[in-house]
């Protein structure tokens, strides 16, 4: 790890094809800054991305990266991190990717508490497939597949994470560059699964959850006398459906990541040239 890494070192030379104004630009910039600020460089960083506009992030960043199948980015990240604990693992995806097709993995990744960072670019719509309802879409949000609205309540990802035993639960707004960067940075520094739901507006398909809407409604917890280690307080905020919060909603300072609990500290890529020493004991067990 070199100390003179700049955030632009995490930029690939590929120009993003996101729509001009898409929230994902800000989300990604903040992630790159946070990685650089925490002393990482592209060669020790692994970015796993899902499928969706959001999932393209791996292409626009420069690091080791895998762009997988829809909804399965978290398991991939888990495998990467457990196999090599020296890597900084960042998983990114959309609200559809993470809370719909990947919802099962989300809950279990939270429980497993592997030391990685999960950033969800929540635009409350399916962007890449051109504007269908997502699990975070509002009940009455009209889309091509829900002309009268989904008629079902949106999922509350923070509540899911809290109930699954999440050790770091945060929310940010992509265009608030400084706060967003700061929050992702805290998530990286957290010992365990750092989850950040980012409001990352889709300027093309979502005319309800817009920049203006978020700007007007966001309440920053930094402006309140709020203690993120207080789980009861977190519960109250997270279940408050009338407000959009920015900040760290909950952090368990006693969090022990999976690798520590399981005593994993070596790079599994390092193996001997032949069968490991003592392998014959494996055979003798069967006498």
């Amino acid at each position: 790890m070199s100390s003179d890494v700049r955030f632009t070192d995490f930029k690939s030379d590929k120009q993003p094809t996101w729509c001009p104004g898409c929230g994902d630009f800000g989300t990604m910039n903040g992630m790159m800054k946070a990685l650089a600020n925490t002393g990482n460089d592209p060669d020790n960083t692994f970015v796993v991305a899902g499928i969706g506009c959001s999932g393209k992030i791996g292409t626009y960043m420069h690091s080791y990266a895998l762009h997988g199948v829809h909804g399965r980015a978290l398991p991939v990240g888990t495998g990467v991190k457990l196999a090599n604990p020296d890597l900084e693992v960042m998983v990114a995806g959309g609200d559809g990717d993470g809370y719909s097709i990947g919802a099962g993995h989300f809950i279990h990744a939270v429980r497993r508490n592997v030391d990685m960072t999960y950033v969800v670019m929540d635009n409350r719509i399916y962007g890449l497939t051109k504007g269908q309802a997502s699990p975070t879409s509002r009940e009455d949000f009209e889309t091509s597949t829900t002309p009268e609205g989904p008629k079902q309540p949106p999922v509350n990802p923070l509540a899911l994470a809290l109930s699954a035993g999440g050790s770091f639960i945060a929310q940010s707004f992509s265009t608030d560059a400084q706060r967003h960067t700061e929050i992702v940075q805290k998530a990286i520094e957290h010992d365990g699964f750092g989850f950040v739901n980012v409001f990352s507006p889709c300027v093309t398909f979502n005319d309800v959850d817009t920049y203006d809407y978020f700007r007007d409604s966001i309440v920053d917890l930094a402006d309140e006398d709020y203690d993120p280690t207080d789980r009861e307080a977190a519960k109250e905020k997270i279940l408050d459906a009338d407000k959009e919060y920015q900040g760290i909603l909950y952090q368990n300072e006693e969090s022990v990541p999976y690798s520590d609990l399981h005593g994993l500290d070596s790079n599994m890529a390092d193996i001997p040239d032949g069968a490991p020493e003592g392998a014959m004991d494996l055979v003798r067990e069967f006498y």
Partner: protein, 586 residues
């Protein structure tokens, strides 16, 4: 009396049938006898008939036959279930003092030994040891030195303390003495013992052992019969070598975790069975397109859908061969016996890393749950070779970068295999994706690049076809005009069937094929033979289809799909019959 013993214990699931059978198998193995076990089990934990069968001889045994010499029947139903295999002179050990066994009628010509299993067990310290009493009785019937049983009991219960071990030994003695004193029948058995030290293990365990030997450090799976034993074997063992087993939330997660670990540079694996392999299918293409080395074991069971989870079938061949959308270069390797489960697993890891592809290890239930004895040298750890393929370190990275200094993980080489930089390698940072990509790993829809990358990936298979040894294993009469071909676990039964056929004056050349893709070219062999029969445990003959396609000819088929593996004598009869029929009835 032949030395070949067929013994079984049967009762209700939950009666400890499995562990009792294992103890006896171990006692026989410790006495230097070969053992081959099989199980009849139902898909439930309590209730339902279940049996553990052992075939044992001083010579190697590779299969089961349609014969049962000694049956320990814990329920009346056990006798009914095995009536077909019992014969004149078969010994049935049962507890006639138990009310539910009072009316047991021992079939004509068989020898019924009513032994008060429960009462004697209680005298020895607890009714729970009734099965051990039965084992003691079996020792007496077979003239088998009971000290071998003692040794197996020590191994089984040693950790639970001296008194438990002693009580069990006592229970066994009581069974032995009871038969000795109450029955003056002269039993024909005189089980020979030898000085050989065998190990006794099943196919799933052999796969797990092969994985550790090959340097596998990461395993992610989701429990499913009959693949779970692989995960259970690795759990607690792989950690000793710096590895980890993760029980994932489902198979989608399992294969993606394994893929992640493989990308990080670990030798990584997942194992599942039918329904689980279905769920993993979407990721096959990602593994192949991102050129990630991954071993995916499918321990087949009876399908489709949830089918018969505890029964045998070789029905997933097409699934592993063709599963997934688009066209996916891959290898499919099918071990032919328990020891081959070990060797082929090691080979699978080398193939996966040398060619950066998914490798399917196609095992099946019969092999997975069969315990078999082997000379320990069969699992020669010194002979294990590790080939990690084209891994480049930070000094070598530059040779594979483009004019802008960017590493090219999908560089189109002559052999189709690209350089691999493990994450953490300085200046090797790159992106991989399931989208079609250029040499940098970046998405493209450029028609020329698309064709180049598809060709490059497929070229790996061609390279492997030339560089690796895909030969079948050959048995029987090399000059015979009758050619029998099978794949996977049918090898053992077929080898013994050759002996039966030989006795009947039928000569057969037998090829056992451990590779499905790439597979040996059997065109010449097929053309040279008068009769070609393909043996497999499925209804449609999936492998026969492949061979017909390869050789542009029709072959005869012997298929079994009732959920039970082939028995050697049965197979011999089927082959004989097939040779006598004129038409190909495919």
């Amino acid at each position: 009396m032949p030395d070949d013993l067929n013994w079984a214990i049967g009762g209700e699931a939950g009666d400890g049938i499995d562990s009792t059978g294992k103890i006896f198998a171990q006692a026989l193995s410790r006495a230097g006898r070969h053992v081959f076990t099989s199980k009849d089990f139902a898909s439930r934990i309590r209730g339902g008939y279940t049996a553990y069968k052992i075939r044992s001889s001083v010579d190697r045994v590779e299969s089961v036959v349609d014969r049962l010499d000694i049956l320990v029947a814990l329920t009346e139903r056990t006798i009914d279930e095995n009536l077909d295999e019992l014969h004149e002179g078969s010994v049935i050990i049962y507890d006639g003092e138990r009310t539910e066994m009072e009316d047991v009628e021992v079939p004509e010509g068989m020898i019924g030994l009513s032994v008060p299993l429960q009462r004697l067990a209680e005298e020895a310290g607890g009714a729970i040891m009734q099965n051990i009493v039965a084992l003691g009785a079996a020792c007496e019937v077979t003239n088998f030195p009971i000290e071998n049983l003692d040794s197996a009991l020590e191994k089984k219960f040693g950790a639970k303390g001296e008194s438990i071990v002693e009580n069990n030994k006592e229970a066994a003695r009581k069974g032995q003495e009871f038969v000795d004193e109450e029955y003056d029948h002269e039993f024909d058995y005189d089980l020979e013992t030898t000085d050989s030290d065998y190990v006794l293990l099943n196919g799933d365990q052999a796969i797990g052992m092969g994985a550790i030997a090959a340097g596998c450090r990461f395993y992610a799976g989701y429990p499913i019969t009959p693949a779970t034993d692989v995960m259970e074997y690795l759990t607690g063992r792989i950690e000793q070598f710096g590895g980890e087993v993760v029980q994932a939330e489902d198979e989608l997660s399992a294969i993606n975790m394994a893929l992640g670990a493989a990308r990080a540079g670990a030798r990584s694996m997942t194992a599942t069975s039918g329904p689980g392999i279905d769920l993993m299918t979407e990721t096959f293409g990602l593994v192949a397109t991102s050129e990630t080395p991954l071993v995916i074991a499918d321990v087949m069971r009876s399908g489709p859908s949830t089918g018969m989870p505890t029964k045998q079938e070789q029905g997933d061949l097409n699934m592993t061969l063709y599963g997934g959308h688009g066209e996916i270069p891959r290898f499919v390797v099918a071990p032919t016996n328990v020891a081959e489960c070990f060797h082929k697993t090691v080979e699978a890891f080398n193939l996966a890393e040398k060619y950066q592809t998914p490798v399917f290890l196609l095992a099946d239930l019969s092999m997975a749950v069969t315990e078999q004895t082997f000379e320990p040298e069969t699992f020669d750890m010194d002979a294990v070779e590790i080939d990690r393929g084209k891994v480049v370190d930070e000094d070598e990275v530059e040779a594979w970068t483009d004019e802008k200094g960017r590493f090219q993980p999908h560089f189109s080489t002559a052999d189709g295999v690209s350089p691999r930089a493990f994450p953490g390698t300085t200046d090797g940072a790159h992106m991989s994706t399931g989208l079609e990509h250029n040499s940098l790993g970046r998405r493209t829809e450029d028609t020329d690049v698309r064709v180049e990358q598809v060709d490059k990936r497929n070229r790996k298979v061609e390279t492997a076809r030339e560089e690796e040894d895909w030969e079948p294993r050959e048995f029987g009469d090399p000059d015979s005009d009758n050619l029998v071909i099978s794949w996977g676990s049918n090898e053992g039964a077929m080898r013994e069937a050759l002996e039966f056929l030989d006795e009947d004056g039928v000569d057969v050349r037998f090829l056992s094929v451990p590779y499905i893709f790439p597979r040996p070219d059997l065109g010449d062999e097929i053309e040279a033979a008068d009769e070609v029969i393909v043996v497999e445990c499925n209804a449609t003959g999936q492998f026969a289809d492949l061979l017909e396609h390869d050789a542009l000819t029709r072959v005869k088929r012997v298929n079994k799909y009732n959920g039970v593996r082939f028995k050697a004598d049965e197979l011999a009869n089927e082959i004989k019959e097939s040779l006598q029929t004129e038409e190909v009835t495919a």
